[in-house]
Subunit: 208 residues, 2 copies
Amino acid sequence: MLVAREQAITDSVNRLLSEKGFDAMTVDEVAAEVGIAKASLYKHFSSKEALACAAMVQAMQKAQEFLEGLKKGTASGQSEASQAQSMGLNALNKLMASTRWTLQLKLMGQMPTLPSHNSTLRATLMASRPYMDGLMRVADILGEWILQAQKEGFLNPGLPPIAVLYTLYARACDPVLEFLKMSEQHSDEEIIDIVMTTCFAGLNARPV
Amino acid sequence: MLVAREQAITDSVNRLLSEKGFDAMTVDEVAAEVGIAKASLYKHFSSKEALACAAMVQAMQKAQEFLEGLKKGTASGQSEASQAQSMGLNALNKLMASTRWTLQLKLMGQMPTLPSHNSTLRATLMASRPYMDGLMRVADILGEWILQAQKEGFLNPGLPPIAVLYTLYARACDPVLEFLKMSEQHSDEEIIDIVMTTCFAGLNARPV
DNA sequence: GTCTATAGAATGATAGAC
DNA sequence: GTCTATCATTCTATAGAC
């Protein structure tokens, strides 16, 4: 029961965090959405930062699990023919599948976006072993694929690998998604295709 | 004197806005940085939103002036040989020059970033004639160049022009810039080159 | 126009009964 | 563990003297 209650809490936090960000989210809102009193929340989590941290850890673990599955080639979205691909092309496909997965989560409002300049939340996250472990594991897996894809020229070898990693992270909080969503001119799938194209192929036309 | 004082205020607001965003910026900070009492600030600007709005209008006007200058081909960064270029290539070069200019301002901490989900500030901005006029003028100029560049295939014609516009806007608040800045592995020029590459050429390697 | 001092509201966090 | 009621802090905005 306690686990289920705390799961409901982190789910609500996750949604609110992705909708309005850490600063704009109030503890009162969380309590109201879960349907319990604010004081009860504080019996489960010691602070607003701890609340957000729990949601971020959960999201990070979900990402880690997805990547681990993709690494073993068992995740959905990986075609069976992938075994016949070169290492580099396979790595690129996995990077693209990961990015697409992230964009989908973001569009569904399940991707808590880390505010790049809130000090108190950053400090809490950096001090959280589960979060940092997940973050490093995710960076390791993605970094390996980036190197493989660059080695065979499927990703631009002139870009520093860390810059590629940051660029992929940044797609998870790209405002272009919500801009296009607000314009109501495109389906979710079209929006994701557009952002995937600009991310990997760029704005320039590809020479035919 | 009054103009100079208000200029000093908007400069401070501009800096704080680009450093921490609207929510994290407090009116006390602004007053302290300008060196006057908070109540005096409110003699010049009626609210925190009006304060931020003034800074945004100023930034928008600066952008508009830059684009107007580029449109006439008199701005710096435009080579003299540009007159010999095709319309489409010329348009692409101007889009790239505009993006580079934006990234430079952002790195220098002079680009107030619009929080995509603060309602009160958004409402104030939408109600501001000077801001909306500037925004529409900027969108017009960029939109024209986008269409020209797409027509001749210098920009991917498969992308909706509005998506290209949003993508360029989004580069002005791309966290990749500060991530790379924090890593201290690259100079400002290198950082801008990296982001320019990922923006226009994408992460993929270009087929030679 | 500038200051000090403070009102008023929002919000994070806690006390104490049940 | 959950509730109601309340505290302490922070922040926007204003009053009133000079």
